[in-house]
Protein backbone atom coordinates (compact mmCIF):
# COMPACT_ATOMS: atom_id res chain seq x y z
CA UNK A 1 0.00 0.00 0.00
CA UNK A 2 1.29 3.38 -1.00
CA UNK A 3 2.05 5.84 1.75
CA UNK A 4 -1.01 7.95 2.42
CA UNK A 5 -0.67 11.65 2.94
CA UNK A 6 -1.87 13.16 6.20
CA UNK A 7 -4.46 15.18 4.29
CA UNK A 8 -5.89 12.15 2.48
CA UNK A 9 -5.99 10.18 5.71
CA UNK A 10 -7.82 12.90 7.65
CA UNK A 11 -10.21 13.53 4.79
CA UNK A 12 -11.08 9.81 4.63
CA UNK A 13 -11.52 9.58 8.39
CA UNK A 14 -13.79 12.62 8.30
CA UNK A 15 -15.86 11.23 5.43
CA UNK A 16 -16.23 7.90 7.22
CA UNK A 17 -17.30 9.58 10.45
CA UNK A 18 -19.82 11.79 8.70
CA UNK A 19 -21.19 8.73 6.91
CA UNK A 20 -21.36 6.85 10.20
CA UNK A 21 -23.22 9.66 11.95
CA UNK A 22 -25.51 9.93 8.93
CA UNK A 23 -26.39 6.24 9.12
CA UNK A 24 -26.74 6.39 12.90
CA UNK A 25 -29.24 9.23 12.52
CA UNK A 26 -30.78 8.14 9.22
CA UNK A 27 -31.94 4.67 10.24
CA UNK A 28 -33.87 5.81 13.37
CA UNK A 29 -35.29 8.68 11.32
CA UNK A 30 -36.77 6.32 8.74
CA UNK A 31 -38.06 4.02 11.51
CA UNK A 32 -39.61 7.04 13.25
CA UNK A 33 -41.37 8.18 10.09
CA UNK A 34 -42.72 4.78 9.00
CA UNK A 35 -43.71 3.74 12.53
CA UNK A 36 -47.47 4.52 12.27
CA UNK A 37 -47.68 2.63 8.96
CA UNK A 38 -47.35 -0.60 10.95
CA UNK A 39 -50.85 -0.25 12.36
CA UNK A 40 -53.10 -2.47 10.26
CA UNK A 41 -56.84 -1.89 10.52
CA UNK A 42 -58.45 -4.64 12.53
CA UNK A 43 -61.81 -4.27 14.19
CA UNK A 44 -60.26 -2.65 17.22
CA UNK A 45 -62.83 -4.32 19.48
CA UNK A 46 -63.88 -7.92 20.16
CA UNK A 47 -67.44 -7.70 18.96
CA UNK A 48 -69.69 -4.99 17.58
CA UNK A 49 -73.35 -5.46 18.58
CA UNK A 50 -75.77 -4.68 15.75
CA UNK A 51 -79.17 -5.52 17.20
CA UNK A 52 -81.88 -8.18 16.75
CA UNK A 53 -81.51 -10.62 13.87
CA UNK A 54 -85.24 -10.36 13.29
CA UNK A 55 -84.73 -6.86 11.90
CA UNK A 56 -83.04 -8.22 8.76
CA UNK A 57 -85.64 -8.84 6.04
CA UNK A 58 -85.08 -12.04 4.06
CA UNK A 59 -83.47 -11.49 0.67
CA UNK A 60 -82.67 -7.82 1.04
CA UNK A 61 -79.37 -6.32 2.28
CA UNK A 62 -80.08 -4.05 5.22
CA UNK A 63 -77.86 -1.31 6.59
CA UNK A 64 -76.84 -1.52 10.25
CA UNK A 65 -74.84 1.21 11.91
CA UNK A 66 -72.62 0.84 14.94
CA UNK A 67 -70.35 3.21 16.82
CA UNK A 68 -67.04 1.97 18.15
CA UNK A 69 -64.30 3.66 20.14
CA UNK A 70 -61.05 3.57 18.25
CA UNK A 71 -57.66 4.88 19.35
CA UNK A 72 -55.57 6.46 16.62
CA UNK A 73 -52.27 7.92 17.76
CA UNK A 74 -53.10 9.42 21.14
CA UNK A 75 -56.70 10.29 20.31
CA UNK A 76 -59.62 7.99 21.10
CA UNK A 77 -62.68 8.85 19.10
CA UNK A 78 -66.03 7.41 18.22
CA UNK A 79 -66.09 6.01 14.76
CA UNK A 80 -69.30 5.16 12.96
CA UNK A 81 -69.21 1.91 11.04
CA UNK A 82 -71.91 0.59 8.74
CA UNK A 83 -72.56 -2.93 7.53
CA UNK A 84 -74.98 -4.38 5.03
CA UNK A 85 -76.45 -7.53 6.55
CA UNK A 86 -77.94 -10.03 4.17
CA UNK A 87 -79.78 -13.28 4.70
CA UNK A 88 -81.49 -15.68 2.30
CA UNK A 89 -83.14 -17.86 4.93
CA UNK A 90 -83.30 -15.86 8.17
CA UNK A 91 -80.69 -18.13 9.81
CA UNK A 92 -77.43 -17.64 7.95
CA UNK A 93 -76.23 -14.09 7.71
CA UNK A 94 -73.50 -12.39 5.74
CA UNK A 95 -72.13 -8.97 6.62
CA UNK A 96 -70.71 -6.73 3.91
CA UNK A 97 -68.74 -3.56 4.25
CA UNK A 98 -70.38 -0.50 2.71
CA UNK A 99 -66.96 0.75 1.62
CA UNK A 100 -66.43 0.59 -2.14
CA UNK A 101 -63.35 -1.50 -2.95
CA UNK A 102 -62.37 0.98 -5.66
CA UNK A 103 -61.39 4.11 -3.70
CA UNK A 104 -63.33 3.96 -0.49
CA UNK A 105 -66.55 5.88 -1.06
CA UNK A 106 -69.68 4.52 0.65
CA UNK A 107 -71.96 2.34 -1.47
CA UNK A 108 -75.75 2.45 -1.19
CA UNK A 109 -78.30 -0.32 -1.71
CA UNK A 110 -81.08 0.63 -4.13
CA UNK A 111 -84.20 -1.47 -3.67
CA UNK A 112 -85.66 -1.06 -7.13
CA UNK A 113 -82.47 -2.04 -8.93
CA UNK A 114 -81.48 -4.78 -6.47
CA UNK A 115 -77.89 -3.55 -6.58
CA UNK A 116 -75.34 -1.50 -4.64
CA UNK A 117 -74.28 1.77 -6.25
CA UNK A 118 -71.22 3.83 -5.51
CA UNK A 119 -71.71 7.59 -6.02
CA UNK A 120 -68.08 8.32 -6.87
CA UNK A 121 -67.10 6.39 -9.98
CA UNK A 122 -70.26 4.55 -11.01
CA UNK A 123 -69.34 1.21 -9.47
CA UNK A 124 -72.16 -1.32 -9.21
CA UNK A 125 -72.17 -4.38 -6.93
CA UNK A 126 -74.59 -7.29 -6.89
CA UNK A 127 -76.71 -8.36 -3.95
CA UNK A 128 -74.00 -10.74 -2.70
CA UNK A 129 -71.31 -8.07 -3.00
CA UNK A 130 -69.67 -9.20 -6.23
CA UNK A 131 -68.78 -6.56 -8.83
CA UNK A 132 -71.48 -6.01 -11.45
CA UNK A 133 -69.76 -3.20 -13.35
CA UNK A 134 -67.35 -0.33 -12.94
CA UNK A 135 -63.78 0.01 -11.70
CA UNK A 136 -63.71 -1.95 -8.38
CA UNK A 137 -60.96 -4.59 -8.27
CA UNK A 138 -62.85 -7.00 -6.00
CA UNK A 139 -66.13 -7.74 -4.28
CA UNK A 140 -67.24 -5.83 -1.18
CA UNK A 141 -65.29 -6.85 1.93
CA UNK A 142 -67.04 -9.26 4.24
CA UNK A 143 -67.15 -9.52 8.02
CA UNK A 144 -67.57 -12.51 10.27
CA UNK A 145 -70.91 -12.39 11.95
CA UNK A 146 -72.31 -14.36 14.85
CA UNK A 147 -75.83 -14.73 16.21
CA UNK A 148 -76.28 -15.08 19.95
CA UNK A 149 -79.72 -15.03 21.57
CA UNK A 150 -81.20 -13.67 18.36
CA UNK A 151 -78.73 -10.76 18.45
CA UNK A 152 -76.27 -10.02 15.66
CA UNK A 153 -72.58 -9.35 16.38
CA UNK A 154 -69.75 -8.46 14.02
CA UNK A 155 -66.81 -10.47 15.34
CA UNK A 156 -64.07 -9.97 12.79
CA UNK A 157 -62.98 -9.30 9.28
CA UNK A 158 -63.04 -12.00 6.62
CA UNK A 159 -59.56 -11.96 5.13
CA UNK A 160 -59.72 -12.13 1.35
Amino acid sequence: MAKMSRRTFLSRVTTTMVGGIGALMGIPTVAYLVSPAKARGGLGVDAIPLGPAAKVPVGEPTLFKAAIERKTGWVTQTEELAFYIFTEDGRNFTAMSNVCTHLGCRVRWVDGDEQFFCPCHAAVFNKNGTVASGPPPRALDQYEISVEDEQLFIVGKVEA
Partner: protein, 231 residues
Protein backbone atom coordinates in the same frame (compact mmCIF):
# COMPACT_ATOMS: atom_id res chain seq x y z
CA UNK B 1 -16.15 7.40 -11.15
CA UNK B 2 -16.90 9.86 -8.35
CA UNK B 3 -14.24 12.12 -9.77
CA UNK B 4 -15.96 12.07 -13.16
CA UNK B 5 -19.32 12.94 -11.63
CA UNK B 6 -17.68 15.70 -9.62
CA UNK B 7 -16.05 17.04 -12.76
CA UNK B 8 -19.35 16.93 -14.66
CA UNK B 9 -20.95 19.15 -12.03
CA UNK B 10 -17.85 21.34 -11.74
CA UNK B 11 -18.03 22.16 -15.46
CA UNK B 12 -21.64 23.23 -15.10
CA UNK B 13 -21.72 24.77 -11.63
CA UNK B 14 -18.18 25.93 -10.86
CA UNK B 15 -18.59 25.18 -7.17
CA UNK B 16 -14.94 24.27 -6.54
CA UNK B 17 -13.72 27.77 -5.64
CA UNK B 18 -16.55 27.98 -3.11
CA UNK B 19 -15.62 24.59 -1.66
CA UNK B 20 -11.97 25.68 -1.52
CA UNK B 21 -12.88 28.92 0.24
CA UNK B 22 -15.06 27.14 2.79
CA UNK B 23 -13.38 23.84 3.53
CA UNK B 24 -9.82 24.13 2.24
CA UNK B 25 -9.06 27.62 3.54
CA UNK B 26 -5.85 28.25 5.43
CA UNK B 27 -6.08 28.71 9.16
CA UNK B 28 -3.49 29.53 11.82
CA UNK B 29 -2.09 26.75 13.94
CA UNK B 30 -4.77 26.32 16.57
CA UNK B 31 -5.75 23.90 19.31
CA UNK B 32 -8.77 21.75 20.19
CA UNK B 33 -10.60 24.63 21.87
CA UNK B 34 -11.13 26.01 18.37
CA UNK B 35 -13.51 23.14 17.61
CA UNK B 36 -16.12 24.38 20.11
CA UNK B 37 -17.81 26.59 17.50
CA UNK B 38 -18.06 23.70 15.03
CA UNK B 39 -19.36 21.49 17.84
CA UNK B 40 -22.08 24.04 18.59
CA UNK B 41 -22.92 24.13 14.88
CA UNK B 42 -23.17 20.33 14.76
CA UNK B 43 -25.56 20.30 17.73
CA UNK B 44 -27.57 23.05 16.02
CA UNK B 45 -27.95 20.83 12.95
CA UNK B 46 -29.03 18.01 15.26
CA UNK B 47 -31.62 20.33 16.83
CA UNK B 48 -32.98 21.35 13.42
CA UNK B 49 -33.30 17.78 12.14
CA UNK B 50 -34.77 16.26 15.31
CA UNK B 51 -36.99 19.32 15.79
CA UNK B 52 -38.46 18.92 12.32
CA UNK B 53 -39.09 15.24 13.05
CA UNK B 54 -40.86 16.05 16.34
CA UNK B 55 -43.33 18.33 14.54
CA UNK B 56 -44.49 15.27 12.56
CA UNK B 57 -46.39 14.07 15.66
CA UNK B 58 -46.43 16.96 18.15
CA UNK B 59 -49.59 19.03 18.54
CA UNK B 60 -49.38 22.38 20.38
CA UNK B 61 -52.70 22.42 22.18
CA UNK B 62 -53.45 21.89 25.89
CA UNK B 63 -55.54 18.82 25.04
CA UNK B 64 -52.95 17.18 22.81
CA UNK B 65 -49.49 18.45 23.75
CA UNK B 66 -48.74 16.13 26.64
CA UNK B 67 -50.37 13.07 25.05
CA UNK B 68 -48.66 13.63 21.72
CA UNK B 69 -45.28 13.94 23.43
CA UNK B 70 -45.92 10.76 25.39
CA UNK B 71 -47.06 9.09 22.16
CA UNK B 72 -43.75 10.06 20.54
CA UNK B 73 -41.77 8.84 23.54
CA UNK B 74 -43.54 5.56 24.19
CA UNK B 75 -45.22 4.39 21.00
CA UNK B 76 -43.36 5.65 17.95
CA UNK B 77 -40.31 3.63 16.93
CA UNK B 78 -37.14 5.51 17.97
CA UNK B 79 -39.36 8.34 19.18
CA UNK B 80 -37.58 8.24 22.55
CA UNK B 81 -34.30 8.66 20.66
CA UNK B 82 -35.41 11.58 18.49
CA UNK B 83 -36.96 13.37 21.46
CA UNK B 84 -33.99 12.52 23.66
CA UNK B 85 -31.56 13.93 21.10
CA UNK B 86 -33.59 17.14 20.92
CA UNK B 87 -33.93 17.37 24.70
CA UNK B 88 -30.26 16.75 25.53
CA UNK B 89 -29.08 18.60 22.43
CA UNK B 90 -30.75 21.74 23.78
CA UNK B 91 -28.65 21.62 26.94
CA UNK B 92 -25.54 20.62 25.00
CA UNK B 93 -25.97 23.59 22.68
CA UNK B 94 -26.13 26.08 25.56
CA UNK B 95 -23.10 24.49 27.24
CA UNK B 96 -21.06 24.37 24.02
CA UNK B 97 -21.99 27.93 23.08
CA UNK B 98 -20.89 29.01 26.56
CA UNK B 99 -17.56 27.20 26.30
CA UNK B 100 -17.04 28.60 22.80
CA UNK B 101 -17.68 32.06 24.18
CA UNK B 102 -15.20 31.56 27.04
CA UNK B 103 -12.56 30.50 24.52
CA UNK B 104 -13.17 33.64 22.47
CA UNK B 105 -12.96 35.83 25.57
CA UNK B 106 -9.83 34.15 26.92
CA UNK B 107 -8.08 34.46 23.56
CA UNK B 108 -9.28 38.00 23.05
CA UNK B 109 -10.63 36.87 19.68
CA UNK B 110 -13.55 39.31 19.88
CA UNK B 111 -11.20 42.27 19.19
CA UNK B 112 -10.66 44.10 15.92
CA UNK B 113 -11.48 43.11 13.23
CA UNK B 114 -13.86 40.50 14.63
CA UNK B 115 -16.29 42.67 16.61
CA UNK B 116 -19.22 41.94 14.29
CA UNK B 117 -18.59 38.20 14.61
CA UNK B 118 -18.74 38.71 18.38
CA UNK B 119 -21.97 40.73 18.19
CA UNK B 120 -23.69 38.10 16.07
CA UNK B 121 -22.38 35.51 18.52
CA UNK B 122 -24.04 37.38 21.39
CA UNK B 123 -27.23 37.44 19.31
CA UNK B 124 -26.90 33.71 18.76
CA UNK B 125 -26.53 33.12 22.49
CA UNK B 126 -29.72 35.09 23.12
CA UNK B 127 -31.56 33.15 20.40
CA UNK B 128 -30.28 29.85 21.82
CA UNK B 129 -31.54 30.77 25.29
CA UNK B 130 -34.90 31.82 23.83
CA UNK B 131 -35.06 28.45 22.07
CA UNK B 132 -34.47 26.73 25.38
CA UNK B 133 -37.09 28.79 27.17
CA UNK B 134 -39.83 28.39 24.55
CA UNK B 135 -39.06 24.71 23.98
CA UNK B 136 -39.25 23.93 27.68
CA UNK B 137 -42.98 24.70 27.73
CA UNK B 138 -43.94 22.50 24.79
CA UNK B 139 -44.27 19.10 26.58
CA UNK B 140 -46.97 20.84 28.68
CA UNK B 141 -46.25 18.84 31.82
CA UNK B 142 -46.10 20.19 35.38
CA UNK B 143 -42.43 21.11 35.14
CA UNK B 144 -42.98 22.95 31.85
CA UNK B 145 -46.06 24.75 33.12
CA UNK B 146 -44.54 26.02 36.34
CA UNK B 147 -41.15 26.82 34.85
CA UNK B 148 -42.87 29.03 32.29
CA UNK B 149 -45.12 30.54 34.95
CA UNK B 150 -42.04 31.56 36.92
CA UNK B 151 -39.98 32.52 33.88
CA UNK B 152 -42.61 34.81 32.38
CA UNK B 153 -43.42 36.25 35.79
CA UNK B 154 -39.88 37.66 35.91
CA UNK B 155 -40.81 40.00 33.07
CA UNK B 156 -43.25 41.73 35.41
CA UNK B 157 -40.46 43.37 37.41
CA UNK B 158 -39.34 45.39 34.39
CA UNK B 159 -40.15 49.03 35.24
CA UNK B 160 -43.24 50.63 33.67
CA UNK B 161 -43.87 48.11 30.88
CA UNK B 162 -43.42 44.99 33.08
CA UNK B 163 -47.10 44.03 33.42
CA UNK B 164 -47.61 44.56 29.71
CA UNK B 165 -44.53 42.43 28.90
CA UNK B 166 -45.94 39.64 31.04
CA UNK B 167 -49.25 39.70 29.18
CA UNK B 168 -47.40 39.88 25.88
CA UNK B 169 -45.26 36.83 26.70
CA UNK B 170 -48.21 34.81 27.95
CA UNK B 171 -50.74 36.09 25.44
CA UNK B 172 -52.97 37.03 28.37
CA UNK B 173 -52.95 37.19 32.15
CA UNK B 174 -52.39 33.49 32.70
CA UNK B 175 -50.70 30.60 30.92
CA UNK B 176 -53.13 29.14 28.42
CA UNK B 177 -53.55 27.60 24.99
CA UNK B 178 -52.55 31.01 23.62
CA UNK B 179 -49.23 30.83 25.49
CA UNK B 180 -48.55 27.36 24.17
CA UNK B 181 -49.20 28.22 20.53
CA UNK B 182 -47.21 31.45 20.62
CA UNK B 183 -44.27 29.68 22.25
CA UNK B 184 -44.55 26.98 19.60
CA UNK B 185 -44.69 29.52 16.77
CA UNK B 186 -41.65 31.29 18.18
CA UNK B 187 -39.84 28.01 18.66
CA UNK B 188 -40.35 26.56 15.19
CA UNK B 189 -40.56 29.66 12.94
CA UNK B 190 -39.37 32.94 14.42
CA UNK B 191 -36.31 31.72 16.32
CA UNK B 192 -35.08 29.35 13.59
CA UNK B 193 -35.26 32.21 11.08
CA UNK B 194 -33.27 34.46 13.43
CA UNK B 195 -30.83 31.65 14.16
CA UNK B 196 -30.12 30.87 10.52
CA UNK B 197 -29.69 34.54 9.66
CA UNK B 198 -27.24 35.11 12.50
CA UNK B 199 -25.38 31.85 11.88
CA UNK B 200 -25.10 32.84 8.22
CA UNK B 201 -23.46 36.17 9.09
CA UNK B 202 -21.34 34.59 11.82
CA UNK B 203 -20.03 31.87 9.49
CA UNK B 204 -19.53 34.27 6.60
CA UNK B 205 -17.31 36.41 8.83
CA UNK B 206 -15.38 33.41 10.11
CA UNK B 207 -14.55 32.51 6.51
CA UNK B 208 -14.16 36.05 5.22
CA UNK B 209 -11.93 37.47 7.98
CA UNK B 210 -10.40 34.20 9.06
CA UNK B 211 -10.04 32.99 12.62
CA UNK B 212 -7.63 34.45 15.13
CA UNK B 213 -4.44 32.67 16.11
CA UNK B 214 -3.96 31.76 19.77
CA UNK B 215 -2.24 34.68 21.51
CA UNK B 216 1.35 34.05 22.51
CA UNK B 217 2.49 34.43 26.08
CA UNK B 218 5.48 36.61 25.28
CA UNK B 219 5.81 38.58 22.09
CA UNK B 220 9.41 38.29 20.97
CA UNK B 221 10.79 40.73 18.43
CA UNK B 222 11.89 38.02 16.08
CA UNK B 223 8.43 36.55 15.58
CA UNK B 224 6.12 38.08 13.08
CA UNK B 225 2.96 39.51 14.60
CA UNK B 226 -0.32 38.33 13.08
CA UNK B 227 -1.41 41.86 12.26
CA UNK B 228 1.10 44.47 11.20
CA UNK B 229 0.75 47.51 13.42
CA UNK B 230 2.84 50.57 12.64
CA UNK B 231 3.81 52.38 15.80
Amino acid sequence: MMEKIGLWFEERMGWRPIWTALALRNIPKVNWFYTLGSATLLVMINQILTGILLTIYYVPSPQDAYSSVSFITNEITAGWLIRGLHHWGASAMVVLAGLHMIRVVVHGAYKFPREVTWFTGLGLLAVTMAFGFTGYLLPWDQKAYWATTVGTRMLEVVPVIGPWLLRFARGGEELSAVTLTRFYGMHIWVLPAALLLLVGIHMFLVVRIGISAPPKAAESESEEPDVEVEA
